[in-house]
Symmetry: D2
Subunit: 165 residues, 4 copies
């Protein structure tokens, strides 16, 4: 399960374009995509990208009733916890990719580092990259395009294998 | 998505037998099963039953790392919230079936009634049935076998349709 | 810290009267009152009762901004989790008293039993009492008036002492 | 209620010294201190500082049983949610002060910006300050000493007044 975190309403077009391509690539690897599930911005784009390639899409929603959900979700988890669900997003991901940046996304990157999940920053500016590398060391990688992000995710997943029972 | 709630470690053999059969029937309807995800008792049994019929199984786990997860889960949500995740289970379900009874299961039935989710009590004793009918009125049904439970779930889902946009 | 759980909007006058008296008695013991914090029903009444006797009142609120809070709270915890906060209420209490009954209150009693907190049912009908005694055994006591509830709480707190480090 | 967020185990001596002084100053203003409640690092220091000046200290704990709690807490909220409780910390604060930096602290600053709580960074390095100013604009202030932080908090609280009913 690859968690893709990114802005909803406030997402810039570039982040959405990257997210859609990323979703497609993740699906082609046979991995599931997990995100915040809202029908906006990066969350919507990554689900659509994955869905088009037949991938499984999981959304961990802020609301209790799911009216905010993307139509491209296969599994919708309704938490009723608002941003409190951000920690569930990262715990449920084997690798976390941040695509774009916002306060919510930054909280997810920080929680991922805290929970010792590997993090890939896709298209982050130098300031964000430097800040999170300070916090997370070599569990944080910075990539410029979705292909590199998927390669980095593959590396993280491979390196984890031997440690698992 | 049909949520099946029931005891883990403390489950009696009868509840597990009902849960396994219920999981199989839910999968045959083409519905997904959502449960607490732990590799024990009713949660394990319902996932195995659904899995054998090719159904999708979703577990909302109490732990942060997922070591307690059933091997029959397709999607594992790691909440790190202990019993705090019980409310997520019921919010994420369109119908809640309680199979067997325990303190955790009782909390999920009560939270389901609070969140206005329809509830089906499968194999509940008269005392539990009476208590929850007092609380939930006609959104609570009591059935003795899994076939009846699936029929009741179908009724609830059908009656909901016209109200949906 | 004594957690007092009970209905908000739907509370009957009798439960509110008991809650107000209970709040006053808890404050006189020098204990803090913890509740769901909403300005309605049992939650409002127990805070007012405690406040009048100079007791500390703590509310664990469902909302994120606190607009639903009772004016009689000294400490307001804003969770933004809706009924997901019910588990926090019981975990944060050393003894849980349920005053009146509703779906939300029933979930808190069940979660308290699950978390091995002692429970006192104040003014519960025979059906509810029987159901929860089945689940919780001798960690569940049933009392008819607030004076007895406080006595039962004192017993529970005393019996806990030797087990603590 | 002033929320003071900062590292636990990994806190540097300098951050703890600042936190202790900050706690004392907050208490002298008559405000309550809210923090993560753990008996380590900044959380312990700010509670001790506040306690010495007779201030009220509130801890929102990660664990379910409270064994990790600082002895200087007046009110201990046991969430059983691990880092999931970070969002509760910021929602329950009227102003959030970050003292020192770590992954957990960064998540709280980001969640505070998301929830539109004013944020004061005390003793942050230039990199962290720049990153969070990008995200939060003028709701984020950077100060070098506790006296300035309290002054900034007073400003934020004052500017909020007229907007409240």
């Amino acid at each position: 399960v690859i968690g893709v975190m990114g802005p909803g309403e406030g997402a810039v077009a570039d982040a959405c374009r990257l997210a859609r391509r990323l979703g497609a690539l993740i699906a082609r690897e046979g991995w599931a995509v997990l995100c915040g599930g809202v029908a906006a911005g990066v969350m919507e784009a990554v689900c659509q990208g994955a869905r088009e390639q037949g991938g499984l899409t999981i959304g961990v929603l802020p609301g209790a009733e799911g009216s905010e959900a993307s139509a491209a979700l296969d599994v919708a988890i309704r938490t009723g916890m608002g941003s409190g669900r951000n920690n569930i997003n990262v715990l449920s991901s084997d690798v976390v990719v941040a695509c774009g940046m916002s306060a919510g996304t930054a909280s997810e990157v920080a929680l991922a580092i805290k929970a010792r999940r590997p993090v890939i920053l896709l298209g982050a500016d130098e300031r964000a990259a430097a800040f999170f590398r300070d916090l997370g060391g070599d569990r944080v990688r910075v990539t410029a395009d979705p292909e590199d992000a998927v390669r980095a995710a593959r590396d993280f997943l491979k390196s984890r294998r031997p440690a698992d029972p």
